[in-house]
Symmetry: C2
Subunit: 389 residues, 2 copies
């Protein structure tokens, strides 16, 4: 084993309640003109919008707004935000929302310094050289965008959903107040749990042994999500559940658990095609795909990792046959996703048929083979889609 | 449960082999005049000194040296380093060594801006207002000083060993190459493991429920140390073992696992008196104290935490009586420390008798009661010392 990596996650996090009084001082480090980016207005319903505006005004900041960021955020919304940055000479961006809002804000931060369509940034046509600083207030535990340097943007004109990342896009400061997720509904909470789990599994299911220590952390994070997801569904204002899910969501993807592993992801690119073509919730797509992907990749060469997963995450009996533990662990995961979290288990339940599987598989595999835990060619990906019908 | 905290650990870490070519570029961000701080010369034996000097010269940096930092580093050494900083107008400090060297470097970084004895900084007589930036190259997995903002300094004139910390003392960059610990001998490796474990246990043994997620991380870190300590003793050049111990040592104390817990530590202040009076290795003192402190604090009010420890770290049968699991877990920890790591188990083996227990207990409890997992008065602390004889 060799494990070589650079760890560099300087995001400062205010975790818990009543930290908002520090918002002004943090923003002022970067200037006076703030662009507040948010979504469809749920932050107004929960009273967060008013609190933020009050804090910004009290701090003597000049506030501009860019609202209406969509779930699966569009490049057109990024263009709108980047325009405001240029026109109003914005100093710092404040993203208030979930992963979609923060992802869009990241591309806006680069778009502020680019004269052209933000889609060029996403597609790497325009190199990222400079970004506005970003501060976030998180309202949904899922993508981990509040503590990582990446985002995913959708172009509905071309049915493309593409990830983009740059160290300059890493939020400087994030405010993680679990009570801001109290109003997240059962469905979005469940999808968030599936998303967090998938971020961990994309790293965990890896046959190259990296640091054992990081495997133990991943197992702990998975146990946390499995334990608290159903509690948050049952009691939306349970602080303990919301707090555990929130901090787990950040650490699932901020880079720490990745260590020296350089394996490509599997379920995410396969899912991105689903939400690009059908605009379904990313976490739901992942939930439907993941157990089928597991079944499809489980064989004699991969069984040891599933055995480890079953024993350490689901506490299965270590003395059982590895293949028995492996299969049982996939069953338990399915039970968690579809019964305990109550997510739909089939693409057909979402009105999705096999008509686009071929083009989606082609895009997911970049026209070739999707590397990762187990390399998947287009036929493999089509097979996995079919298992989800 | 409520969990409120600020997470702010911006240290950049180069983990693994062959990162040293980045040393020059990282140092140059802060200036050209570098003070290299190190210990008794072990870095020369392993060839690290030559490699570092070559890299610094190739980068066009001007190098000054402050060597001879002791284990349990003295304030007098800090004074020496601070003098050089002032005289040579040093821009940045490079600590090459273990926790002692890095701790001393932290106080030097503040001493560079103070006209007086560095001991005033340690005793809070002189406020810390400014520090030189610090870069570290770690050669011993133990204190975690490479990724935290604290240090411990000894004054042999007054038999005081005092911890001091300040955000400005946090290393900007740390180079963690596990191969730099290959030559650490069996005894120091074992003491390092005891130190890492103690850092985790001081946080873990806490009756205020904080984030479950952080408990799972702590259990994973403890399992990591328990698994790899004996392997590193047996095979000093086992990369996997050295790497796991190294990264675990940083995460045991960088603040992440602390979350919102604000409990005072127990074994560390009790041990600091031992090494202040007898100059023994800190990790050895902790190893001897910890199981006795556990026995002393185990009762009906604390048993649930020991039960959790036994089940999740030592994989004990969850169906057993909690008190049975608790006692067994302490036995297993003792076996680990004294048999598997081969550390001496008694103070009397180190030539320490009870003659100073009273004054040490008084200092450890700040003349009153040591708060923490279970509050300990002077009599309690004397009892624990006696259990170690």
């Amino acid at each position: 084993m060799n494990s070589n990596f650079v760890y560099d996650i300087p995001t400062k996090v205010y975790f818990g309640e009543n930290h908002l009084s520090h918002l002004g001082e943090e923003l002022k480090k970067y200037g006076k003109r703030v662009l507040m980016v948010y979504g469809g207005g749920s932050i107004k319903k929960i009273g967060l919008y008013d609190k933020v505006i009050e804090e910004l005004k009290n701090s003597g900041l000049e506030v501009f707004e860019c609202s209406g960021i969509e779930p699966n955020p569009r490049h057109t919304s990024c263009n709108k935000g980047a325009e405001i940055c240029k026109k109003e000479e914005i100093d710092v961006l404040l993203a208030v929302g979930g992963g979609s809002v923060i992802d869009a804000t990241k591309v806006i931060s680069a778009g502020a310094f680019y004269d052209g369509d933000c889609w060029d940034i996403v597609t790497r046509k325009a190199p990222i050289t400079k970004c506005l600083p970003i501060v976030t207030i998180l309202t949904l535990s899922a993508t981990g965008s509040e503590m990582d340097a990446g985002g995913v943007i959708t172009n509905l004109e071309t049915n493309d959903k593409i990830g983009i990342g740059h160290p300059l896009m890493l939020p400087k400061v994030s405010f993680l107040d679990p009570t801001n997720t109290y109003s997240v509904n059962v469905y979005q909470t469940a999808c968030g749990c599936a998303d967090i789990l998938s971020h961990i599994m994309e790293i965990y299911f890896n046959m190259n042994q990296d640091l054992y220590m990081l495997d133990t952390v991943m197992e702990g994070l998975m146990k946390t999500v499995i334990k608290y997801g159903p509690i948050a569904l049952e009691e939306p204002t349970n602080y303990e559940a919301r707090a555990n899910l929130m901090w787990a969501s950040s650490w699932a993807i901020n880079g720490f658990i990745r260590g020296g592993k350089r394996q490509a992801w599997s379920c995410h690119p396969i899912e991105h095609q689903l939400s690009a073509y059908y605009d379904i919730t990313h976490g739901l797509g992942l939930a439907i795909l993941t157990p089928r992907w597991m079944e499809y990749t489980l064989d004699d060469t991969t069984v040891s990792k599933f055995y480890q997963f079953g024993c350490n995450v689901f506490d299965l009996d270590k003395s059982l046959e590895p293949m028995v533990v492996a299969k049982k662990s996939i069953e338990l995961l399915s039970d968690y996703l579809f019964n305990q979290l109550g997510l739909k288990s089939k693409l057909s339940d979402l009105g999705i048929d096999d008509s686009k599987f071929e083009i989606m598989a082609k895009k997911a595999s970049y026209g070739n083979v999707l590397p990762g835990f187990k390399p998947l060619n287009q036929e493999d990906i089509i097979n996995i889609y079919k298992m989800c019908l």
